[in-house]
Every structure is written in structure tokens, then in C-alpha cells.
């Protein structure tokens, strides 16, 4: 990890709703190296997507970045103007969304939708952009690429549409690609193909990838490093092998135990493990650790003081009083 693709420091994003302030992202520090794949894991509402949308500065109008810096190519994206952001979006940082079925404009042909990015950021002429789009299509494994440019989204399958989205994201050779649950809506075989494709393309293009998912299987197969998010904070970050061999945070351990396994002892207790309790209300968080109400190892200190991220080994950090040495 010699150079950094992006360096996020102390990011705080809040939603100001009429019933109160929702603290969705509460001080996220995250660095992704050039060409690295970081898997960001967490359950719904943990702040994964809000973090991603904060990077793109594509938050809804009621959301605000309250604090922190997002350093990217020598600029702080938090302080950038809308015009500067428009030059970065789709160009230096691109995004792949969860729903391939609804992410493409249904009334426009897919070719021009991909070409649009090239015309905007690369200043290509219509024909040139379409020719390049065809090249991108074959790169992402869309058969009969030149002819498929003419297709409308409804004429393609979910997997093909997600390939189109990936082609769009790759178009301007971005430095960072954010993939927000890119395979969640796809069936398992297509999921594997898309993940493999993403991994290969990212390696070839030397782009960094922020892979957001709630699926630990996806992370273990694809990512170099894992960050676990809980209630708006990163609670554990580690290289992928280390994370799966020695998870430290009680939440990470719980997540791992709740994945069904095929090789489990058939005689033993076959009930699937679940983490008890529910996610705390982000409008009204308890004092101390956010995970205290669901943690089996909770003790006095957890209810008084909030733990900070502490390094425990090379590249392995955890936010837990149990590992505060």
C-alpha cells in the first residue's frame, strides 16, 4: 500500500429529519490504497451506503456532512464545490449500484447511456464514444457488443445490465470505484461471475474498489481488506485472511457465527446463530459503546466510555474495550 486512492478522516454525516437528528456516520476513518479492494460490511442502516454517498457528495437534501475530510487526488471532497464534484463523479470516482434492474434509464438505449459519460468527461464525439462503449462492453463480457449498444435496458437480463453498469463505471478509468451491494440483486451463479469480473477489471485498471456488502461470503472471495461497520462507526478493520481467522470484535464474531456452514457437525445443535437484540436508535445512542446492549462480554467500562479504534496487529484495528491493552 504505497499510495492512497482515498483517505477519509473523521467523517460525520447526519440526517436532519423533522423527528430528530439521525447520526448515520459517526467518525469514519478509512484509507484505501491504489488498486486495493476494501470490503465494507455491516447490516442495513449501519451507515455503509451513507459513507459511500458522502464520498460522492450525493446525499439527499436533509443529510449533511458535519465534520471530517475526504482527501482524494489532493482535494478535500467535503469542501469541494458542486462543479468540482461533477468533474469527479463518473470520471475519477464512479459508482455501481445495487439494483441493475432499475439503475438504467428505461427509455434510452444502453450504448448512449454509457457513451454519455465519455462525451461528458472525455469530450468524445458521439461516434467515437459509442465505439469506445462497444469496446467496454466486450471488456465486461457482453457478447455481440456492437449490436447490444442498440438495446434498451428491458431487453437485457439483470446480469447483463449490471455488466453495462460496470462498463459505465470503468469508462473513464477512475481511480476509485464504489460498488454498493453490486451483486445482492443477482442470483448466485451470476453473482460469482460479476465478482470475478470486478476483481479482474479492478486489477487491470489499477483502480481501487470500495465494495459495500452485507454478505461475508462476497467479502472473503473478493476483498483484500475488510472493514466492519456498526451503528455509524467502523468497529473492526483487518486484512481479509486475518479477519476470517481471528475476528476480534464481538460483533464481527457474531456476524461470522451467523453464517450458515455446510461443513458443520451434523449431530450437534443445528440452530443458526443470531445476534440478540436490535441495532440502537441512531437518533438516541446510549452512552459508551454502541454495541453494549447486544454484547455478551459487556462490562462496566462499556457503559461509560466509548472505545476508540486500537491497533492490535499489523493492519488489524478494533474498537473494543476487550482488546484495549
Amino acid at each position: 500500500m504505497t499510495s492512497l486512492a482515498i483517505d477519509i478522516r473523521g467523517l460525520r454525516t447526519e440526517f436532519h429529519t423533522h423527528v430528530g437528528i439521525v447520526k448515520s456516520v459517526r467518525g469514519v476513518d478509512m484509507r484505501i490504497g491504489a488498486g486495493e479492494i476494501l470490503g465494507l460490511v455491516g447490516e442495513s442502516g449501519s451507515g455503509k451506503s451513507v459513507t459511500a454517498h458522502s464520498i460522492m457528495r450525493l446525499l439527499p437534501s436533509i443529510a449533511r456532512i458535519m465534520d471530517g475530510a475526504i482527501l482524494f487526488e489532493g482535494k478535500d471532497l467535503v469542501a469541494s464545490t458542486e462543479k468540482e464534484m461533477r468533474e469527479i463523479r463518473g470520471n475519477r470516482i464512479s459508482m455501481i449500484f445495487q439494483e441493475p434492474m432499475t439503475s438504467l434509464n428505461p427509455v434510452l438505449r444502453v450504448g448512449p447511456q454509457v457513451a454519455e459519460v465519455l462525451r461528458l468527461h472525455r469530450g468524445m464525439a458521439r461516434k467515437e464514444a459509442l465505439a469506445f462503449a462497444a469496446e467496454l462492453f466486450s471488456r465486461v463480457g457482453i457478447p455481440d457488443a456492437a449490436r447490444r449498444l442498440e438495446a434498451y435496458p428491458h431487453e437485457m437480463s439483470g446480469g447483463m445490465r449490471q455488466r453495462v453498469m460496470i462498463a459505465m463505471a470503468l469508462a473513464c478509468s477512475p481511480k476509485l470505484i464504489i460498488a454498493d451491494e453490486p451483486t445482492t440483486a443477482l442470483d448466485v451463479t451470476i453473482q460469482a461471475q460479476i465478482l470475478e469480473l470486478l476483481r479482474d477489471l479492478v486489477a487491470n485498471a489499477d483502480a481501487a474498489l470500495l465494495l459495500i456488502t452485507h454478505d461475508l461470503g462476497v467479502v472473503s472471495e473478493t476483498a483484500d481488506r475488510v472493514a466492519v461497520m456498526y451503528a455509524g462507526q467502523i468497529v473492526e478493520m483487518a486484512p481479509v485472511e486475518r479477519f476470517f481467522s481471528t475476528p476480534l470484535h464481538p460483533y464481527s464474531i457474531g456476524l461470522m457465527r451467523s453464517v450458515p456452514r455446510l461443513d458443520e457437525d451434523e449431530q450437534g445443535d443445528r440452530t443458526l446463530y443470531a445476534i440478540g437484540g436490535t441495532v440502537p436508535n441512531l437518533m438516541n445512542l446510549p452512552r459508551g459503546c454502541a454495541f453494549q446492549s447486544r454484547c455478551a462480554h459487556v462490562h462496566e467500562r462499556c457503559r461509560i466510555e466509548e472505545p476508540a479504534m486500537r491497533p492490535v496487529a499489523d493492519g488489524h484495528e478494533v474498537r473494543c474495550w476487550l482488546h484495549d491493552s
Binding site: 461533477r86 432499475t102 461528458l120 468527461h121
Partner: protein, 323 residues
């Protein structure tokens, strides 16, 4: 190819539709009290002998079902009959007046669509902002005001007090303009009636565009468009509007019969020499052949207009298949 097949099929559907229309319209009109003879004779009255002779001339003495048979055959032969009041062929009368109505309707509806869609998009950009509230108030008011009252107020304010526009008619008969001066003169006379009808129709288009744009801007592909780095204007007009217009186009099509009803009112108020006034006069005179011809013409017009709307819809939305 499928487009031509679709068109043929749709045109074929119009045949039973028109046949049904002929029957319904014929019996409805003949069920209405009074007949043209009363109108021709007037209040002075006439002897029973004269009345009987007139009725026989018009074929009104025969059973209604026979009258219907005769009429249906004549229509199929392309003959809409003659006006009992003026004696002129019905088709000639209609075609004479049709351009004036078409001009008024096309102008006002184009105006209403442009104003309605633009204000709707502006309104939807920031829902519940001050701008949105003002536009919403205007749209509800425009929808609630009756056309005939609005028309009279427009005449009173812009025609009478301010004296900016003519009060009546389509041309200045005394000047007898020709060429481009004539076009300008018609446009000048067109302003008030077209504006009146447009104001009335803006409300619906505006409200519909607003809610449709708001709904569409919540869609994933709009998020994607923003993530591409496109400007808000491109996102709104290239990606959102075309999708948002689909329901608007549908409603515009459905509203076309209502347009004609509106035209009857506006043409009467503004003395516009179109089909609306011809219809009104024909109703008052119980001019059966003319009335029948008018209604049939309106039916055909509505059917064809809806066909155009369906084609437009398919052009906007590639997911619609001609089948």
C-alpha cells in the same frame, strides 16, 4: 412492420366504434324533446297542414327506426345530409368551421402543455418551497375557475378596460387583411380565447407533471445519472422528464374530448367562428342532420387523436410494443 400492422388494426377498430356511435347519437338526439319543425315555424305558428308537409319533407313522419336505417345507409355512402336550417351540405358546414376550432384547440393546448410542463418541473425541483407553493396555488385556482367566467373576465379586463385585444371574432372584417397581415390579425384575435382555455388546462398538466417528476427523481437511474457527473439540468431534462412525461401524455390524450366541450364554451364567449358555436346553434335549432354530423365528426376526431397519442406514447417509451 409491426407498426403498420398495429395502425391497420387500430383503424379497423374504429369501424365498430363509429357504428356504435352513430346508433347512440341518433337515438339520443331523437329522444330529446322538440324537433326542427318547431324551430322553423317559430312562435307565430302555422296550420297543421303546413306542419305535416314539412315533417313529411324531412322524413320525420316515418318511424324512428326507419329514419335510422335511412340515415345509417346515407352515412355509409359518405353523405351526411343537409342542414334543415340553411340547406347547405352538413360536411361543407363542418369543414368550413373546423379549421378555426383546430387552430384554437391546437394553440391553447400547446400553450397549456408548454406552460404546464415547465412550471411542473420547476415546482418539482424543490417540493414545498415558496416557489412550489405559489405555483400550486395558481394551478388549483386555474383548475377551479369556470371557462365561461374566466373568458368574460378576460374580455372585460384585456378587451374592454385595457383595450389591448379585440373582444370578438377571428378577423377584422372591415380591414379585410390578406397574406401575412391576415395571419397576424388572426393571431391577435386568437390571443384571448387561446389564453383563457390554456389557463384552464394548465392546472391539470402542471399538477400531473409535478407529481410525476417528483416520483421519477426518486428512481435509481436518476441517482445513477447524478453519479455520472451530469449537471442537474441534464439530469432533469434528459433523464427525468422523458420518463415523467409518460403519464402526462396519457392524460392529455384522455382530455381531448373535454377540450371540445371547453371549445364550445370559449367559442360562444369569444364569438369564435368554430365548430363549438355551430354545435350550439344546431342544438338550439334541433338541426338533426347537422347535429348528427357534428357529433360523428367529433367522435372520429377523438378516436384519431387518441391513436396519435398512443403512437406518441410508444415513441416515448420503448417498452410499449405495438401488438
Amino acid at each position: 412492420m409491426s407498426l403498420i400492422l398495429y395502425l391497420l388494426k387500430r383503424l379497423l377498430y374504429t369501424l365498430p366504434l363509429m357504428a356504435g356511435a352513430i346508433a347512440i347519437i341518433f337515438f339520443l338526439i331523437h329522444a330529446a324533446p322538440g324537433d326542427p319543425v318547431d324551430y322553423l315555424i317559430g312562435e307565430a305558428g302555422a296550420s297543421q297542414e303546413v306542419v305535416d308537409r314539412l315533417r313529411a319533407q324531412m322524413g320525420l313522419d316515418r318511424p324512428v327506426i326507419v329514419q335510422f336505417g335511412i340515415y345509417a345507409f346515407e352515412v355509409l355512402a359518405g353523405n351526411l345530409g343537409y342542414s334543415v336550417v340553411s340547406g347547405a351540405p352538413v360536411l361543407t358546414l363542418i369543414l368550413e368551421r373546423f379549421p378555426a376550432t383546430l387552430l384554437l384547440m391546437a394553440t391553447q393546448y400547446t400553450l397549456a402543455a408548454i406552460i404546464g410542463i415547465t412550471l411542473g418541473v420547476v415546482s418539482a425541483r424543490r417540493p414545498n418551497s415558496a416557489t412550489d407553493n405559489v405555483i400550486t396555488f395558481f394551478s388549483l385556482a386555474s383548475f377551479a375557475i369556470p371557462v365561461f367566467w374566466l373568458g368574460q373576465m378576460m374580455i372585460l379586463i384585456f378587451g374592454y378596460y385595457l383595450d389591448w385585444f379585440p373582444i370578438q371574432g377571428m378577423t377584422n372584417l372591415r380591414k379585410g387583411y390578406t397574406g401575412f397581415a391576415y395571419v397576424l390579425d388572426v393571431a391577435y384575435h386568437l390571443t384571448l380565447p387561446a389564453l383563457t382555455l390554456a389557463i384552464y388546462n394548465v392546472g391539470l398538466v402542471l399538477r400531473l407533471t409535478r407529481s410525476s417528476v417528483i416520483q421519477v427523481t426518486g428512481q435509481d437511474y436518476i441517482k445513477v445519472a447524478r453519479a455520472k457527473g451530469l449537471s442537474e439540468r441534464t439530469v432533469l431534462f434528459k433523464h427525468a422528464l422523458r420518463n415523467a412525461l409518460l403519464p402526462v401524455v396519457t392524460v392529455i390524450g384522455v382530455e381531448i374530448p373535454g377540450l371540445i366541450a371547453g371549445a364550445v364554451l370559449a367559442e360562444t364567449v369569444f364569438g369564435w367562428p368554430g365548430l363549438g358555436r355551430l354545435t350550439l346553434d344546431a342544438i338550439n335549432a334541433r338541426d338533426y342532420p347537422l347535429l348528427m354530423g357534428m357529433f360523428l365528426f367529433i367522435c372520429l376526431f377523438v378516436i384519431l387523436a387518441n391513436l396519435v397519442v398512443d403512437l406518441l406514447y410508444a415513441a416515448l417509451d420503448p417498452r410499449i410494443r405495438y401488438s
